[in-house]
């Protein structure tokens, strides 16, 4: 990354704070096994222990499992699903958007109709149904989040390709007889990367929220501890034990907030003109 990029990024104080928080979450996810070697599903202390008691930082849940351990291990699922489902959504969205924008005409019409269909469908309902029917697992959760997240990325990529396609450097590449895949991948794609990167960072944030909502409803991978599951499992005892649903919620809030802040910083650094206009 260039120095100008970092300078522009660092000018946004929120983005720096976001980056630091995000680094903390990544650290937690990477070293969860070292910090809390016992499985987060194991009973380690008495049930219903309030925070800072019975040898726990954030208390224990209804089955005596350590909340702090659950949060550390849950960071993995959130980040993993957030990143992989965004990668999959990018693959679907950018491919379709690129084809629509590059070829135009009927291809464009057909692809945009398809995109519109997916934007009209109530996407959370679709995600819930997909996971329920294909039984909850990390693969089905990731796939359904990707399936409901790609349409905005496709629209964005289409717009970029549409406007770049008529630019001189692309026309030159066409005239010199470069193959279509090479024009799409080597000429247009690199030039449309900035807005796509910014949009992808926001997609990671919404993917994490979606995953937490699914596991809140009991649709998470049954073998992996996740923040949404912790909230869903303890909401019936909220009156007696606020900490069980409070801390995982804060973890989600902080992580998603950090990603959004980093996204805004990326936006400032990558699309300087747009950023200034947006602030108006």
């Amino acid at each position: 990354m260039s120095r100008e990029f970092w300078k522009a990024f660092a000018r946004n104080r929120g983005a720096i704070i976001g980056l630091i928080i995000l680094a903390g979450v990544v650290f937690l996810a990477l070293f969860a096994d070292l910090l809390y070697p016992t499985s987060p599903w194991d009973m380690v202390t008495r049930p219903f222990a309030p925070p800072l008691s019975a040898g726990t930082l954030m208390g224990s849940d209804t089955l005596g499992r350590d909340i702090a351990s659950g949060i550390a291990h849950g960071a993995r699922v959130s980040l993993l699903i957030g990143l992989t489902s965004t990668a999959a959504a990018l693959l679907i969205g950018v491919t379709l958007g690129a084809l629509a924008g590059f070829y135009g005409g009927r291809v464009d019409d057909a692809i945009m109709r398809f995109t519109e269909l997916f934007q009209t469908i109530p996407n959370f309902v679709l995600a819930v149904m997909l996971v329920a029917i294909f039984t909850p697992s990390i693969t089905s959760v990731t796939a359904s989040i990707a399936i409901v997240s790609w349409p905005p990325l496709a629209r964005l990529a289409r717009g970029e390709f549409l406007s770049l396609r008529s630019r001189e450097f692309v026309q030159a590449a066409i005239t010199t007889g470069q193959s279509t895949p090479s024009i799409i991948l080597r000429e247009i794609l690199p030039n449309s990367m900035s807005p796509i990167i910014v949009a992808a960072s926001l997609t990671v944030a919404t993917a994490i929220l979606l995953e937490s909502a699914l596991s809140f409803l009991g649709l998470g991978d049954p073998n992996m501890m996740s923040w949404g599951y912790m909230i869903g499992a303890s909401r019936t005892v909220m009156r007696q034990a606020w900490w069980m649903s409070f801390f995982p919620g804060v973890a989600i809030l902080i992580t998603v907030l950090a990603i959004n802040l980093v996204g805004e910083g990326l936006n400032d650094a990558l699309n300087p003109k747009l950023a200034r206009k947006g602030k108006g």
Binding site: E116, T120, V125, A132, A213, G218, M238, G249, I252, L253
Partner: protein
């Protein structure tokens, strides 16, 4: 009038195509599900009465060729037959129909609340570009973007019901109170406050932000300067000229958000035990009652399509430049 009718006609035809696609997705999902479709329809897995499964297979024409099955399914949905819930021993449409009013009430009020408050706050922030209100709205929007919907609901219950005891935490009305008239209205309203806030807060923040930037863009345009030069009072300039134009992108966006609002109602109704379609979806989920889930998918999609048509109509009514085209 004629123009509006033909516009509506075209929108309805387009919506019907989208609906057909959704029905196709439903059909494909049941067949794509792992395991025997008869078992999936029965909403159970593992061992069950073979005779019963045979009955189901016959009833749902599962022994017929796929195109035939598809045709049966499409005509069934077209005639309002969304299947039968073997768990509840009732037709799916009946189950949804009795829950629909509660959901329409919740999502409708949340929609109006978020749009109304969003426009108001956004306008205030733009008219008095004081740093204080600007910062407040941006911060609220940023926080609202990042907070899980269901968690806001839970924390509100913790604060307003458990700690302060101001608002009822669960349900649609006080059980067994037998209230009528105004008392009943107040009772339901009190039960609505937290679900509506939970569902609407996020979009309120989004609309406020959008309104603010939209107004800042519009207010320096020539027609606004002209209006001012004509000597119109400031209030009139803001409402009739600036706001009327600035509101258009917000409404377009609000139309797109209808689907998210209805999806969010699954979470909100689950948290607040609101007796609507979303709560039904959660119960169906726990019991793996797929017929009900698929029915809800069709009905909520229709809700989104209707929301979208209404939004388009509102847009054309407000838009000062073009008539329905």
């Amino acid at each position: 009038m004629g123009k509006i009718v033909s516009f509506l006609g075209r929108r309805v035809v387009k919506s019907l195509f989208i609906l057909l696609a959704i029905v196709l997705i439903n059909f494909a999902l049941i067949r794509a599900a792992p395991g025997d479709p008869a078992l999936v329809i029965a909403g159970q897995s593992g061992a069950s009465d073979p005779q019963y499964i045979e009955q189901l297979r016959e009833k749902f024409h599962l022994d017929e060729p796929l195109p035939q099955q598809l045709w049966t399914y499409v005509t069934d949905v077209a005639t309002g037959d969304l299947g039968y819930s073997y768990r509840q021993q009732r037709p799916v449409w009946d189950l949804i129909a009795e829950r629909l009013p509660a959901t329409l009430l919740l999502t409708g009020i949340a929609y109006v609340f978020s749009l109304g408050m969003g426009l108001l706050l956004g306008t205030l922030a733009a008219v008095k570009v004081g740093r204080w209100s600007d910062t407040a709205i941006t911060t609220i929007a940023l926080l609202a973007y990042a907070t899980p919907l269901y968690w806001i609901g839970l924390m509100m219950i913790l604060l307003f019901s458990v700690q302060l005891g101001w608002l009822p935490a669960f349900g649609y009305q006080s059980v067994g109170a037998g209230l009528t008239g105004l008392d009943h209205f107040v009772d339901v309203a009190a039960h609505l406050v937290m679900p509506v806030l939970t569902l609407g807060l996020f979009y309120m923040a989004v609309y406020a932000r959008l309104t603010r930037s939209s107004i800042l863009e519009v207010r320096d345009m020539d027609f606004v300067k002209t209006a001012r030069a004509k000597g119109l009072p400031e209030r009139r300039v803001v409402v009739r000229h600036v706001l009327r134009n600035a509101v258009l992108p917000v409404i377009t966006f609000a139309g797109i958000q209808a689907g998210y609002l209805i999806g969010g109602s699954i979470l909100v109704e689950t948290v607040f035990a609101w007796p609507g379609v979303g709560r039904l979806a959660f119960d169906a989920l726990l019991q793996r009652d797929y017929q009900v889930l698929l029915g809800i998918f069709v009905v909520t999609s229709i809700m989104v399509l209707v929301f979208n048509i209404i939004t388009d109509l509102v847009y054309t009514l407000i838009d000062p430049r073009i008539e329905v085209s």
